[in-house]
């Protein structure tokens, strides 16, 4: 009887290196992980209060509901749940998707929907479908690092447009498009998270939404609207999605069950014009044939017997108070030179510190005090964001939020004071209140970035 040896035979290290390095595609040469990867790995330690993740609070999902759903599947659709499914997804799942989109006032033809393995697969498939190496994608700055990585993997040239508290500066987008046009470059699509942006925490205003849709039409430009957080709104009236303003002509829509039900299901979807969708479908066939049938049936069973809106309401209540706790803690513990966004929903706050603080190094210091966040540099491809950080408020309870923000605040103050000592600036001067405060908005609302803020004000006045 033959068997495999218990361990692989010894391999020579240098040959290993050369062998593998020689095999890697040119594509992977741009797939570098961030310099802070090893630091981020430390934030998984159980003693660390981590604001680094983007995790929904799945512990608030009732386990008896989960048990009832799975029992129902076992009783009624066991064979189907264990079987392959169509590449574009099960028809019943698409009806659930139409239901979710209707909750944000979108009417969708289920023929235009393709069910995907999480929203992340939409980013991959859309990029695979549209991008040749060197093609241009326009995105927000800062942008979701997971999207930037998908774009980079297809060797896209990503141009990032500044944001302020009203989301992407569409005027700057137009300037950027003009400039690219003069260089003979025509972007394939604009990537945006208009509502409660990750990582910026800001929301694209209605006038800008309308203008963005107009720009897309005028220039025949595709827009990929990524909307994972739209239903997690904690204040104010809902804004129409770009998809509903455009009617699905130039806007492709990315949705997901991750933030309203479960990221563990890996269930998302894309809505796109039929010619684009059929190409995406081909790409998906190559990638994974179909999205997990079991996950799709889980969603169906859940939607059929429970009011999913109730659960979103429960989550929103929890997240709203966690957001408020974090905003209060920031006001109490962060020094006056720090600025941060005040998200009306979603999961993230984006804080910007004085530019002499590098948040990757700050993270190393913060980890000594067992607290973590995401350094901002990964949200840009052009070296910006080094003084910013993304703070997640959905994944920690309120005591931990208060304590974690207090610890980060202490570390920042320590660095501000040290910098003051090094440059001869007085620490007292360094903690004076900022010149621009908008007290009527219940907190310090900052626009991204600060320079753009002043320019915009100047233009308004």
């Amino acid at each position: 009887m033959s068997s495999l040896p218990p361990n692989p035979p010894e391999r020579s290290t240098r040959r290993d290196l050369e062998r593998y390095a020689g095999l890697f595609s040119a594509r992977t040469k741009v797939m570098t992980s961030s310099a802070t990867r090893d630091l981020m790995a430390m934030s998984d330690r159980p003693d660390v209060i981590s604001f680094a993740g983007g995790l929904p609070d799945t512990s608030s999902f009732p386990s008896e509901t989960f048990a009832a759903i799975t029992q129902k599947i076992a009783d009624e659709s066991c064979a189907k749940a264990l079987q392959y499914g169509p590449t574009d997804g099960l028809a019943e799942t698409k009806r659930c998707i139409a239901d979710v989109m209707a909750a944000e006032a979108m009417a969708v033809d289920t023929d235009d929907v393709l069910v995907t393995t999480g929203g992340q697969q939409v980013l991959d498939l859309v990029t695979k479908t549209l991008i040749d190496p060197g093609d241009t994608i326009v995105a927000e700055g800062p942008s979701y690092p997971g999207a930037l990585n998908a774009f980079k993997a297809y060797q896209a040239n990503v141009v990032q447009v500044d944001m302020d508290s009203d989301g992407m500066r569409v005027d700057l987008l137009e300037e950027t498009l003009d400039r690219l046009d003069s260089e003979g470059k025509r972007p394939k699509f604009v990537y945006t998270v208009p509502s409660f942006q990750n990582p910026g925490g800001v929301t694209l205003s209605l006038p800008r939404r309308k203008r963005l849709v107009e720009v897309a039409r005028e220039r025949e430009l595709l827009v990929l609207e990524d909307n994972p957080y739209g239903l997690l709104r904690y204040e104010g009236d809902p804004l129409p999605t770009l998809y509903s303003l455009d009617g699905g002509v130039y806007v492709m829509y990315l949705g997901t069950f991750s933030k309203i039900f479960s990221p563990g299901l890996r269930l998302g979807w894309v809505v796109a014009p039929p010619p684009v969708l059929s190409r995406i479908n081909l790409g998906k066939q190559q990638a994974d044939l179909c999205t997990s049938t079991l996950s799709q049936i889980l969603v169906q069973a859940y939607f059929a017997h429970h009011d999913w809106r109730d659960y979103v309401g429960t989550l929103s209540e929890i997240y709203r108070s966690r957001r408020d706790t974090m905003l209060d803690a920031l006001a109490e513990h962060f020094p006056a030179q720090a600025e941060w966004t005040r998200p009306g929903g979603g999961l993230f706050i984006w804080a910007t510190l004085p530019e002499f603080i590098d948040t990757s190094d700050l993270l190393a210091r913060a980890l000594r005090d067992s607290v973590a966040f995401v350094p901002g540099e990964g949200a840009f491809l052009d070296g910006r964001g080094r003084s910013s950080m993304r703070l997640n408020f959905s994944g920690s309870d309120e005591d931990r939020i208060r304590e974690g923000i207090r610890r980060i605040g202490e570390v920042i103050k320590e660095q501000v004071a040290l910098y003051g000592t090094l440059t001869g600036e007085q620490a007292e001067a360094a903690v004076a209140p900022p010149a621009e405060v908008e007290p009527d908005e219940g907190g310090r609302v900052v626009e991204l970035p600060r320079r753009a803020d002043r320019e915009r004000r100047a233009r308004r006045s």
Binding site: R14, D38, L39, I357, D358, A364, R365, Y419
Partner: protein, 319 residues
């Protein structure tokens, strides 16, 4: 055949690298026929070691705790023979400032430097001395935390305006930092391995960042980001001189078993020792395994030799 505990992980910033080093060492030790116990060094380290009663510990930890003498001290108390340098050498090597003072005293060239702790700036007005330091070292100046094993926290200050921010960054990792003259040139590493006739300098490895740029933390551990040339193609005499300096550094610090000494070869052909690593990486991209390979010592053989040195030192200590 011995029962060997492989200590890896820990809570240093080089945890991930250490886990990879440890995994490779475990595989090699098993191939060599040893009974391997993998231990992720955490709060139960002592309990695990007491329960397992290993014949030796292979320390595959990098950075704080693993490389700075802490774990070695604990192993001494438990009486477990362990690989690599002893406590005093680890303490000296992990602290770049202690290392460099030793090098200067021994006449081993190292880039000129100044070192301060935070209190010097907070309480003694050291900031007022920065212009004099900058004039002395000339820009660009390298600013480093004293005790960080990897390239994390190392900044290049190109002008006086960069220095305060670079110091703040370096102080994120350690309460002591150094400002060092930048040596423009080639980045070399000489690994030293204990042999039957004493320490042996292995072939020189040159690290060349792909596409230029500073040799940074990312490049150091990622396949494809840095090209390693071994043996380095150096001007006549430089290889021997680099190996000699590495051996002298190894002996000066009191290292044992193995270590890696990092050097710069400047454009005038001068060699400078930057630092010594008492537990260099053993990952796929690490320099010591490459150098050993070039010297005809495969990875398993390398691991066997390093393990053997643990027993040798233990026997020497008892004698």
């Amino acid at each position: 055949m011995s029962k060997v505990a492989v200590l890896a992980g820990g809570s240093s910033f080089e945890r991930q690298v250490s886990l990879r080093s440890g995994a490779r060492v475990e595989d090699a030790l098993e191939r060599l026929g040893h009974d391997v116990v993998a231990i992720d060094a955490g709060s139960d380290l002592i309990q695990r070691l007491r329960a397992e009663q290993p014949d030796a510990a292979f320390v595959a930890m990098h950075g704080r705790d693993g490389e700075d003498g802490t774990v070695q001290e604990l192993l001494e108390i438990l009486g477990v023979p362990y690989t690599g340098s002893g406590v005093p050498a680890c303490v000296r090597a992990m602290d770049k400032v202690l290392t460099k003072h030793g090098l200067v005293e021994a006449g081993i060239p190292t880039p000129e430097f100044f070192s301060f702790n935070q209190t010097a700036f907070r309480e003694l007005g050291a900031a007022d001395a920065l212009p004099a330091i900058e004039q002395r070292l000339q820009f660009p100046i390298v600013v480093k935390p004293a005790g960080q094993g990897s390239a994390l926290g190392i900044k290049f200050a190109r002008t006086a305006a960069d220095v305060p921010g670079a110091l703040v960054a370096a102080f994120s990792y350690d309460s002591k930092v150094l400002l060092e003259r930048f040596v423009k040139g080639r980045d070399l590493a000489v690994s030293v391995l204990e042999g039957p006739d004493g320490p042996l300098a292995l072939p020189v490895v040159e690290a060349v960042p792909v596409g230029g740029g500073d040799y940074d933390f990312q490049a150091r551990y990622e396949i494809g980001r840095t090209e390693f040339i071994c043996p380095a193609d150096l001007p006549a005499g430089s290889t021997e001189r680099a190996q000699e300096l590495a051996l002298r550094t190894y002996e000066l610090l009191g290292c044992f078993g193995f270590a890696r000494v990092d050097l710069m070869l400047d454009e005038g052909g001068e060699l400078f020792v930057l630092e010594a690593n008492p537990i260099p990486g053993l990952t796929e991209t690490s320099l010591l395994p490459q150098a050993a390979e070039e010297a005809g010592i495969g990875f398993d053989d390398l691991v066997a030799r390093i393990l053997e040195s643990a027993f040798t030192r233990s026997a020497q200590a008892r004698a």
